[in-house]
Symmetry: C2
Subunit: 175 residues, 2 copies
């Protein structure tokens, strides 16, 4: 029931969550980015129940994030390989990792990204590719796109109004 | 039961999902970024059942992503405002939005980010703040951090080995 509701939503975040909005799916994608391809290896890494893993792999395959490939004929054995769409999910994982390391790693990072050219720990930062500027609440704001439905449009327009009010309230009166 | 398991994991992605790894939570954060603060407004925007919304708001408050503030005394009324930790989740939402617009928006984007200085649609890109270089599979790779447990270390070390093998296989033989 929840699936149908989310699929109906026009918001790109809701649409994405429809495909991966479940802990196990995201951790399966994490492992796939680390090069895990086989059922047993996913299971060993995640400690997930086999029937749950089967279901999640099928959902990720159905959504076009993983491709199921036969790697052995007798007996038939399959592996799960990231598609371009699945690989394109990497920035979400990197953003989640950075946030987790910043806020929920009192004992220090358990996983981090390294720049292999410099050997330094990467500091992930989201920028606008067009300008190179960091994405910033003051400069970059959400707007309804051409395909927005009524609800999305209403939600985002309220936001634009709120921002305008906040600015009017914080700007000095004009002379 | 699932909660406990995820909290035990040392991986920063698993730790983050522990706090927000549920569709509704992420959509609540989306709306909070758009400036929604009140129960009725979240409900109208999300079409979520009130008891579910109550539970999700409490979980996000307990995890330190939202702060519950009284804005009216008689009758007592509360609003939910993003904390710095909650606001810091924005790059994850931006990455999800970009991915959704790229892969699941056949009719065009329903929501997009605009650079208010240029009026142009933002192209979110993850870079390393230290070098300004886009994060790239060939250059930036995952490693175990100082606080990694056995399982995380094993998972990431296998990945480092796989990468080395792939390189050896694709590099031309030395002369």
């Amino acid at each position: 029931m929840q699936r149908t509701r989310f699929d109906d939503m026009r918001c790109p975040i809701a649409r994405s969550l429809e495909r991966v909005g479940e802990w196990w799916s995201i951790l399966i994608l994490r492992d796939a980015m680390l090069g895990v391809t086989r059922f047993d290896d996913f299971q060993a890494s995640l400690g997930i129940a086999p029937n749950m893993l089967t279901r999640r792999l099928r959902a990720l395959t159905d959504s076009g994030l993983l491709e199921r490939r036969r790697y052995n004929d007798k007996p038939p054995r399959y592996e799960y390989v990231l598609t371009p769409r699945g690989r394109d999910f990497r920035p979400v994982l990197v953003a989640l990792m950075a946030w987790g390391n910043r806020h929920f790693a009192d004992e220090g990072p358990a996983m981090q990204m390294i720049d292999e050219l410099t050997g330094e720990v990467v500091e992930p930062l989201m920028v606008d590719a067009k300008t190179g500027e960091p994405i910033d609440r003051a400069r970059h704001s959400m707007h309804a796109g051409p395909a927005a439905d009524e609800r999305t449009r209403a939600r985002v327009e309220q936001y634009v109004q709120r921002r305008a009010q906040q600015r009017a309230a914080t700007e000095p009166p004009s002379q």
